[in-house]
Symmetry: C2
Subunit: 399 residues, 2 copies
């Protein structure tokens, strides 16, 4: 046994959605879990996020889906429009046929609401939640993963989960690969839906696609809030300038777009912008007893809205591969982690790569835009062949 200050079955580093979901998954297998978060309080910034059936299926299994639906919103359709003309290009209904096909619904929820639900579930499951703890290093010693905090304290577990996001400290210990800059930035915002809110498409996830820009809108909190995300290629970001307030660049990026898009820009908080990064796919997710989860393992561009969904899949897979495994049994843990990586890495790599291409498809201009619009327009609602791999079950890990 190591000389750590805290000994437990599992140490999770990172209290975002991936860390909480991972902690909950392992708790459900009867493991004692300690979760370490660097911030002084648990919480989430951001706005809405989308839970596609591959993720809502996990929420359902954990008994959390109804809570998410209650604070979230069940959109009727996903609608793609051309941002320059407003023309509807294609739509996918999220009605009964969709839900039956995938065994789960498509729901949207405020990131902070999902975070609260997972946090409460972790508390209920007995996860030890520790704030204000910055992990600076990890090692594997005597068959245990040990995380060292900046105050010198050490936390040891049979398993050490690195769920510390895009800028993961733990990933940096095993891979030197840098984040990949996409050149795009996002502005997000939520505003109350009132009588004066333009009423078109207010039951749907609506995506306006423009050259080098797009805009996403959908309701949250049972239709009380309107969530808006504007993403565009930012010259100022590529020049290395930091965030802007009241950005002229934001307005300029949407010149030529229909009035509905321009009206939506006023819903955004322009005080902060998120640069969009991902990384090249890898399966270097393990080091001794440490395993990376979520964005720490497979950060992705947001075009498939799968960042949180893949973190949920990670957790469900982790729950499955460690079910009935005595974490003190090193060879069984090794086998479980190998199974996890072998099953998850090809899938998340595909999501990462597809998200990049999907972004290119969204942002294409010129004749590519004409071709994209023709192709989208030729698609029938309900033609989900290209979505099955993503939203459908993964028999290998029983999702």
């Amino acid at each position: 046994m190591s000389g750590a200050d805290t000994h437990t079955d599992v140490v999770v580093v990172g209290g975002g959605i991936a860390g909480l979901a991972g902690a909950l998954a392992l708790s459900r297998n009867g493991q004692r879990v300690t979760l370490l978060e660097k911030a002084d309080e648990f919480g989430e910034v951001g706005a809405g996020l989308q839970m596609a059936p591959n993720a809502s299926r996990v929420l359902d299994r954990w008994g959390l889906l109804n809570q998410v639906r209650e604070v979230g919103f069940s959109p009727r359709h996903l609608v793609f429009r051309d941002a320059l003309t407003g023309q509807e290009l294609t739509r996918q209904s999220f009605g009964r046929a969709f839900e039956e096909r995938y065994g789960a619904p498509y729901v949207v929820v405020h990131r902070s609401d999902l975070h609260t639900i997972l946090l409460d579930a972790c508390r209920d499951a007995g996860v030890t939640l520790i704030n204000a703890t910055v992990i600076t290093g990890t090692r594997t010693e005597a068959g245990r993963g040990v995380a060292t905090a900046d105050d010198g304290r050490e936390y040891a577990g049979h398993l050490l989960i690195g769920a510390d996001g895009l800028d993961s400290t733990l990933r940096a210990q095993i891979a030197a690969d840098p984040p990949v800059v996409s050149g795009y930035v996002a502005y997000r915002g939520t505003v109350p839906i009132t009588r004066d809110t333009a009423s078109g498409d207010l039951h749907d996830v609506v995506v306006h696609l423009g050259p080098e820009c797009h805009l996403v809108q959908y309701p949250l909190r049972q239709g009380d809030l309107l969530n808006t995300v504007a993403v565009y290629r930012s010259a100022s970001f590529e020049r290395g300038e930091e965030q802007l307030v009241g950005s002229d660049e934001l307005q300029a990026a949407y010149v030529g777009c229909v009035p509905a898009v321009h009206r939506a820009l006023s819903n955004l908080r322009t005080g902060f912008r998120w640069p969009m990064y991902d990384r090249e796919p890898t399966d270097t997710w393990r080091d001794g007893r440490m395993l990376l989860l979520g964005d720490a393992a497979h950060p992705m561009l947001q075009y498939l809205a799968q960042g949180a969904c893949q973190a949920m899949e990670d957790a469900a897979a982790l729950e499955r591969v460690t079910a009935g495994v005595d974490l003190a049994d090193e060879s069984r843990v090794d086998a479980a982690l190998s199974t996890f990586v072998a099953e998850r890495a090809p899938r998340t790599a595909r999501v990462q790569r597809t998200a990049r291409v999907w972004g290119d498809v969204w942002h294409v201009g010129g004749v590519g835009r004409v071709l994209r619009n023709k192709l989208f327009s030729s698609r029938a609602d309900g033609d989900l062949e290209v979505a099955d791999w993503l939203y459908g079950g993964q028999p290998a890990v029983g999702l």
Copy 2:
């Protein structure tokens, strides 16, 4: 009556396909036609050209289709392939269903062979053919169009047809618009088909589509000759350099393309290249008794293979609008020419514009190429909805 040296019903300036077809059409209406060609001999350079049903229907009406078929080739299909992978993207069969839909076949023929057939037909119809006559100016005087040659001779007719091609002298008198440089150049060549000729697709018009390049191949002369056209964006042409011999640039333009494309490049005559031009659509085709036809009126990029076809349509429309018209009756000639322009200009403008877009679709790279390939691949052979406007009849002018 003017003081011209030669008086006739119609003077045609230009002995290419548009001029010969126009002369033949007016002869068929009983008009006396004098055709003036600047070259010392009648003839055509170039390689193959395609007669789509909208043009072969005119040949058929004139009793020339069988001659064209005999010296030409009836391809079985039009096949589009991706030049980088060789993948077949879509194909159109030219079998019975196609021919019945449009009332005429799709044939390909050497440009010089079509030219010879039209020239012989003009001779048979009694057209006066005059070589080595460069027209330097035209005017309308006393109700007649007068063309002045560089030797001072003057040719007068009730009607003066300007069919002097892209660099039309006659057009320059009524419009100051310059040709539009596309930045693309073409190399063409024909080689005998032998036992050693690679046998794939030898019954078809095959188009390989690549980023900023394409390659077209089809047989001519009943399968004895293989016609090859390579078109690519030329940096050297954009820099203002003239034609190249044994161009390294040509080879470099097709780097990354499949071996079938590289083998085809050796079939080209690299001693001469054609820069690709068109002009903005216009309906400024008339000046007094003068009317422009063919490339002089509506030069187009070659992506729809409609340059010669639209010249044939021009001639057929001219034949129709002047049928039974006494060309000495100025008001009836005015009305006929107005009808001609009103019917032809919108159509040729659409062909000019569509050819530009079609070229962009052929040459797109990146994600646009992926979208193009998906869209093409989703098309079924026989789905001709988008071709009907082009290949189908034009009731207004009885084509």
